[in-house]
């Protein structure tokens, strides 16, 4: 903190600090407190607020636990987000390794451009692209039937579609941290391991993966958080049976109008995400600051 004042002087440094505090207060602290507060109070008509019934209760959370479906959707959202994270990791690790250690310069540039171009579009449009690809009479079914792999069109909307759409939407958030990490690996480390007689899989397990650990953890945190909080992909590519927890939160707020229950659902999701992320970091033995770096 004193470093900021030393570098920018009292006035400018003060302005910077004030801006950061304002940011934290306005965008993190106040809405957060408001939401937790709303989650813990019952939904009351305006006239009864501040009255004897306006006390802290757990009934909004209890509703989630006791609901025949919502608890299940909650678990499934977390589980599916983990699955999305895992799938993107599986897809990204080999690509990142290839880009960072194997590819020639022009190959790497070409690949990066090809992968970045779709991201110049809005997330909703990218979701719509998959909506079209996966449609009942869309190109994917047509192609698979043309190849003779399917006899009749398959309904892709639902869990499979949501998974594909999300993996696609967040893949770069997995790719880049891993790519960055593997880039910093000294090529001689791989040469040395091979020279000592190591097979390729062992080189990856013992040399490349430990080195890329921080990048992998960062990518996993990003993708998991975004998948769990995703709304567009499940809304577009889901089916009635594959509802995402964020859709429930949305409904409580904007369709049913019960903000207190919506807030409780939101808080539950946030708490779960935080638990999973911290668990992930503990699993990788990475601390939060180095993961975000």
């Amino acid at each position: 903190m004193s470093e900021i004042f030393q570098r920018f002087g009292k006035t400018l440094g003060g302005i910077f600090v004030a801006l950061v505090l304002l940011w934290l207060a306005g965008l993190v602290l106040v809405p957060g407190i408001y939401m937790v507060n709303a989650a813990l109070t019952p939904r009351l008509p305006l006239a009864l607020r501040g009255g004897p019934d306006d006390v802290y209760v757990l009934e909004n959370f209890a509703y989630l636990l006791n609901h025949p479906n919502h608890g299940w959707i909650f678990v499934k959202t977390i589980w599916s987000s983990a699955l999305v994270t895992f799938v993107t990791l599986l897809l990204c690790y080999p690509v990142a390794y290839w880009l960072a250690q194997v590819a020639r310069k022009w190959q790497m540039r070409l690949m990066l451009v090809l992968m970045l171009v779709p991201y110049l579009m809005n997330e909703v449009l990218r979701g719509l692209a998959w909506y079209i690809i996966l449609a009942f009479s869309g190109p994917l079914n047509a192609m698979l039937m043309g190849l003779g792999l399917l006899d009749e069109p398959h309904r892709w909307y639902g869990d499979g579609g949501v998974l594909a759409g999300m993996a696609y939407a967040y893949i770069l958030f997995m790719l880049f941290p891993i790519y960055n990490a593997i880039c910093t690996l000294d090529r001689d480390q791989i040469n040395a391991a091979r020279n000592l007689g190591s097979a390729t899989w062992r080189i990856h397990r013992r040399i490349v993966l430990p080195h890329a650990k921080v990048g992998i953890a960062t990518g996993c945190v990003f993708v998991f958080m975004m998948a769990a909080g995703s709304y567009v992909a499940p809304a577009l590519l889901g089916a009635p049976g594959s509802r995402w927890f964020t859709q429930l939160v949305y409904e409580w707020f904007f369709e049913i109008g019960n903000w207190n229950r919506g807030a409780a659902y939101g808080v539950a999701l946030m708490a779960m995400c935080l638990t999973v992320v911290l668990g992930l970091l503990a699993l990788f033995r990475v601390n939060l600051t180095s993961a975000i770096k």
Binding site: D188, N191, A192, A193, R194, L196, G197, S198, A199, R206
Partner: protein, 380 residues
């Protein structure tokens, strides 16, 4: 060491293993060439390294010596020619199946593994049981005099210790040939000199053939049984350090290995192994070398320590001292040859004892050298 019997073989590189000696060469290169696109990093060359030899490749950076090492290790495949290790053709043999181990310039120790795990890594890949691995690693730690450092991470070791761990890791897989790529270049001078002696004694005690790459001539000359001098992708000369120093075969070797004085002119006479050179500064004689022709341009090389101060020498030079560089046991006098244009610098080594009677700075003096201490090489 200078007159070891195997030295006799040095003039016949490229002899196929098993033909002329009972033991196959540790490393044998037969017209090996390496191209990267249009550039030839290694021009076709042949070389034989004997079993148990400390062999160095000495050359300036970019001369292709590291490429040569990587060809032997199998990290690169030669575009032409053959590599033999222990008499076996290595064509198509991947690097992990070769009887070589490499020590990288960066050492490439695995930072996330302990010293034990680092040393045992090659054994792990060979499927050795954990207990046995640990025992072997401990043996090697004792060999490199770091018996208590097995549990540390490489980052917790000093430069010299890391160096030794890298050697132990390479020796663990019991290679026939250890390939070392300028492993001492990152160390400071004192440690480097200490590690030279240590490498030398490790090599003698293990009997493993060392194939050592360096751009540092004092390193190569101090440690090696034989040295190959390399420049621009070609082998200039192969020989013992003493041979390279006293009988350089090419201009490059004469000028690259050690300090030397140069006089250039044309050959006026060759007889009885002595060549007489006509230079603008006078007439000088030195040992003749093959390829020298009367009337052709040539250069005479004489080491600073072969120069004698005083009158009455053969090959007499009139000099003026410019400055002395004091180097401890001796001093080097940097002088200018009088009447030379463009100016020709001549350096003369002056021993500690005779420093007090040496000529003053700016004073003219005479110095000369014996014809047998100088060498005349054709101007390529």
């Amino acid at each position: 060491m200078l007159d070891m019997p195997r030295v006799a073989k040095m003039d016949t590189p490229g002899v196929l293993p098993g033909v002329s000696s009972p033991l196959p060469s540790a490393v044998s290169l037969n017209n090996v060439e390496m191209r990267f696109g249009p550039t030839r990093a290694v021009k076709p060359l042949s070389l034989d390294v004997q079993q148990g030899e400390f062999f160095s490749i000495l050359g300036p950076s970019g001369c292709g010596k590291t490429t040569l090492l990587r060809l032997i290790a199998g990290i690169l495949k030669p575009t032409a020619g053959q590599v033999f290790i222990n008499g076996e053709d290595m064509a198509g043999v991947p690097q992990n199946m070769r009887a070589t181990a490499m020590i990288f310039q960066s050492l490439a120790l695995f930072p996330f593994m302990t010293v034990w795990e680092n040393i045992a890594f090659g054994l792990e890949a060979r499927g050795m049981a954990k207990k046995e691995r640990r025992r072997r690693a401990q043996e090697l730690l004792e060999l490199i005099a770091l018996p208590d450092h097995g549990g540390r991470l490489p980052g917790e070791l000093s430069g010299g210790q890391r160096q030794r761990v890298a050697i132990a890791r390479a020796l663990a897989i019991q290679p026939k040939v250890l390939l070392l790529d300028e492993p001492l270049s990152a160390l400071d001078l004192k440690l480097r000199q200490h590690m030279r002696a240590e490498l030398r004694s490790l090599q003698k005690s293990t009997g493993v053939t060392f194939f050592y790459i360096t751009h540092d001539q004092s390193e190569a000359l101090a440690m090696s049984d034989r040295v190959a001098v390399m420049n621009a992708g070609t082998l200039q000369q192969v020989g013992t350090p003493h041979e390279l120093y006293s009988r350089p075969g090419t201009r490059f070797v004469a000028e690259f290995v050690g300090e030397t004085n140069v006089l250039s002119g044309s050959v006026s006479r060759i007889e009885n192994g002595t060549a007489v050179l006509d230079c603008p500064e006078g007439r000088f004689a030195g040992r003749s070398t093959p390829g020298l022709r009367e009337g052709a341009k040539a250069r005479l090389y004489v080491r600073p320590e072969a120069m004698r101060i005083g009158d009455g020498n053969h090959n007499d030079l009139a000099l003026t001292i410019e400055r002395y560089d004091f180097e401890g046991a001796f001093a080097t006098a940097h002088a200018v040859l009088e009447g030379s244009y463009p100016r020709r610098d001549v350096s003369v080594t002056i021993s500690q004892q005779s420093l007090s009677s040496a000529p003053a700075i700016g004073a003219p003096f005479r110095a000369g050298f014996c014809a047998r201490d100088a060498i005349v090489l054709p101007d390529e």
